[in-house]
């Protein structure tokens, strides 16, 4: 009932200390909300995508982008209409449809969304979950809280995987005479698929709880750890390097 988000590889990110990676992701998420120029924001997003392509492969990067595309489009398409301030770009009569500020905010929002998505995806794609857990524990997060966090990050892809399996099975049930479907029919078909995925996920919760207890989770005795982070020898250097880069980008791209 859990799904691995790890993509095997040998690139630079795989050798980077998980503690430093975790901290960098948190700092990056904050960085994206600092007042930086658009060009700076997209330079950092571009670098993240390049780093991802070099480490996990272009197909993984593309797959990640496609998975967020519907939500991205939804946000970007509606954002310009919500912002009424600034120079008018498109207007119908006296009614302003899109302003320059609205457009800029939509582009900025898209940049932030893509950036945060890639930062988190790269963390989980280049670090095995047990090392993510050890990194969380290094920051003094209790074991149970760490397990909940890591389980959540593997349970969400599990639901996504169930959704795609159910969608596949539904596609196999289409009538032979059915031709290309219209958008309305596609949206209508989403309802039973989503319902089944939800029911499937809900039904799996007692099984997950059962399995965790049968594997000894819940005991009061202190657990030992199969892995440690001793093979990563330069946590301080890696953390420092990340901080320097982020401060450098801030100095370079901040709004003056």
């Amino acid at each position: 009932m859990t799904i691995n988000t790890f993509v095997a590889g040998k690139g630079l990110l795989y050798r980077f200390d998980p503690r430093a990676k975790l901290l960098t992701v948190v700092l990056l998420c904050i960085w994206f909300f600092l007042p930086v120029r658009l060009v700076g924001l997209y330079t950092v997003v571009g670098l993240l995508i390049l780093l991802g392509a070099l480490n996990t492969g272009f197909s993984h990067i593309l797959k990640t982008f496609l998975s967020i595309l519907p939500m991205l489009l939804f946000m970007v398409l509606f954002m310009p209409f919500n912002v009424r301030n600034g120079e008018s770009l498109i207007s119908i009569g006296s009614f302003t449809l899109i302003t320059a500020e609205g457009l800029e905010q939509a582009v900025r929002l898209a940049g932030r969304f893509i950036g945060i998505t890639y930062a988190c995806t790269l963390l989980f794609a280049t670090t095995v979950m047990q090392e993510v857990m050890l990194a969380l524990r290094a920051f003094h997060l209790p074991y149970k809280a760490g397990l909940v966090v890591t389980l959540a990050f593997t349970y969400i892809p599990f639901i996504a995987e169930s959704f795609s399996q159910i969608a596949e099975s539904h596609s196999l049930r289409e009538a032979e005479s059915e031709q290309g479907k219209r958008i309305f029919q596609r949206l209508k078909d989403l309802v039973p698929t989503l319902t089944s995925a939800l029911v499937f996920a809900l039904r799996s919760i007692p099984n997950l709880a059962m399995s965790l207890e049968l594997r000894g989770f819940g005991g009061e005795e202190k657990r030992s750890s199969f892995k440690d982070l001793s093979s990563y020898r330069h946590p301080f250097t890696h953390t420092l390097l990340s901080c320097i880069m982020l401060v450098g980008f801030w100095v370079l791209f901040r709004v003056k």
């Binding site: 009932m1 859990t2 799904i3 691995n4 988000t5 790890f6 993509v7 095997a8 590889g9 040998k10 993984h60 095995v128 979950m129 047990q130 593997t154 995987e161 169930s162 399996q165 159910i166 596949e168 099975s169 539904h170 596609s171 196999l172 049930r173 289409e174 009538a175 032979e176 005479s177 059915e178 039973p192 698929t193 319902t195 089944s196 029911v199 499937f200 039904r203 799996s204 007692p206 099984n207 997950l208 709880a209 059962m210 399995s211 965790l212 207890e213 049968l214 594997r215 000894g216 989770f217 819940g218 005991g219 005795e221 202190k222 657990r223 030992s224 750890s225 199969f226 440690d228």
Partner: protein, 474 residues
């Protein structure tokens, strides 16, 4: 000698969430298992084997609510006072459905997780993990995640976990299912040689069971009985309806027209993303053919590519080279999905509507050539044929009925070809054969994937074998 398990007057009924009360599963059931003994408990599907296993592990009714009465002791400890995690070093459970037991993200982490709970030192954990993975042929898959494993590989992971924990009492629920012959022999040897108390729960008497157990029991009429073995097997056969004539024997299959599904020089690749070792798996099919009315079997070891080939054949996955033709015309994936019906092993992935009536009419309502009255007639006839009640809710139906519903849905689609993935894995032979008979009524060609040689013998006309991704006709 101490009893490993002692159950006295156990009664259990699941809580009902609907208007209809659930039927009692056990009624004043008694069971004693001596320490170190090997016990086989036979019961037809859906008669409470898995529930009994979960009760012994103390997770039912905790996570699967119901009313329980009676006394259960595991190695002298009253289960009413024990939490499931306290049984970790005492009792290990291998579930019938391996997917439901995975908690970690890789094979290696899965085996290590309970050892961490036991608080073992790293060196000992490493040794136990390495030994168990090597023993179950999983060494090269240690970083693979569960979704990239085949059903048999998943079952082997659970057996490796059981071996690594090294508990005193093993409960193996349909543990031989999904395993190919090599691993069945290994499991048999492990049960025979070890000093553990073993309880195997099975819904089919396999040839591997001969001379393996100290006692063979039967779950009959909500109680456990232990008549002489010959009498027990005879009664079990009756309960599973195996004494009835083979439903396929009398069937004369005359398809209205002969259609042919042919694959030639097919090459496809599958990638495991979570491991660098064995990252690429190749499926090669020099020639495969299936025609209307034919019933052929596909056999092969765990992870040999049976499901990968099936997914290609029904258009869910693509391929690099070769062609798949129906009646001489090469078809795209989308076109294939409307010619080849694929019944997944897990019916719950293919059932999603509130009632049987909704399920059966879903595909028919999307056809423009059918009127409401025609749909109603077809649905009623189909429900009758498969023994379904139109007002039933699929989510609360028994497993064999859900499987029958899944088949009924495809029956109405009237595909010229069907792939049945491990149809027999949770059904009696008679139920599985009846489903095959019904699907063949209109002359469909059927490809049946199975691990069970006894079942294959009852149906096969031709057999294909697949090993390390290469398919050939036997």
């Amino acid at each position: 000698m101490q009893n490993a398990l002692s159950i006295t007057n156990l009664s259990f009924t699941y809580h009902s969430y609907g208007e209809k009360a659930c039927e009692r599963i056990f009624d004043e059931l008694n069971l004693q298992i001596k320490e170190g003994s090997k016990t086989l408990l036979l019961a037809p599907f859906d008669k409470g084997k898995t529930t009994l296993a979960k009760i012994i592990c103390a997770v039912c009714p905790k996570y699967f609510p119901g009313t329980l009465s009676g006394n259960i002791e595991v190695f002298g400890s009253d289960l009413a006072t024990v939490e499931p995690w306290q049984l970790l070093s005492v009792c290990s459970y291998v579930s019938q459905n391996p997917q439901e037991q995975f908690v970690a993200n890789s094979v290696e982490e899965e085996v290590a997780f309970p050892l961490e709970s036991l608080g073992l030192c790293r060196a000992e954990m490493q040794e136990r993990v390495d030994t168990a993975l090597k023993h179950w042929g999983l060494d090269r898959l240690r970083t693979s995640s569960s979704q990239e494993l085949s059903g048999g590989e998943r079952k082997r992971v659970l057996l490796a976990v059981t071996e690594a924990i090294d508990a005193r009492f093993w409960i193996l629920d349909e543990a031989f299912d999904d395993l190919d012959q090599k691993w069945r022999d290994q499991l048999k040897e492990m049960i025979k040689q070890g000093n553990k108390t073993v309880l195997v729960l099975a819904s089919r008497y396999l040839a591997e069971f001969d001379t393996l157990f100290d006692q063979v029991l039967l779950l009959d009429e909500k109680k456990i009985v232990a008549p002489a073995q010959e009498q027990l097997l005879c009664r079990f056969s009756q309960l599973c309806q195996d004494d009835l004539p083979n439903p396929l024997a009398a069937q004369v299959c005359t398809p209205p027209s002969v259609r042919q599904l042919v694959c030639t020089d097919l090459i496809a690749e599958r990638r495991r993303t979570s491991t660098l070792e064995e990252a690429c798996f190749k499926v090669e099919v020099p020639h495969f053919s299936l025609q209307s009315g034919e019933l052929i079997t596909l056999v092969g070891p765990n992870g040999s590519g049976k499901s990968s080939f099936s997914r290609i054949l029904c258009g869910l996955d693509g391929y690099l080279h070769g062609a798949i033709k129906v009646d001489g015309t090469p078809l795209s994936g989308k076109e294939l999905s409307k010619k080849v019906g694929y019944l997944f092993q897990n019916p719950d992935l293919q059932i999603f509507l509130p009632t049987v009536n909704d399920e059966l009419s879903w595909s028919l309502r999307r056809r423009r050539d059918l009127k409401t009255e025609e749909i109603r007639k077809k649905v009623a006839h189909c429900a009758d044929l498969f023994g379904l009640s139109l007002s039933d809710t699929p989510a609360t139906m028994s497993y064999p009925l859900r499987k029958a519903l899944q088949a009924a849905v495809y029956y109405l689609l009237d595909r010229p070809f069907y792939i049945l993935d491990e149809l027999d894995s949770a059904l009696t032979y008679h139920t599985a054969l009846t489903i095959i008979r019904d699907l063949r009524q209109h002359g469909a060609g059927i490809l049946l994937i199975t691990h069970d040689k006894q079942f294959a013998k009852r149906v096969e006309q031709r057999t294909y074998s697949i090993e390390k991704g290469r398919l050939c006709e036997l």
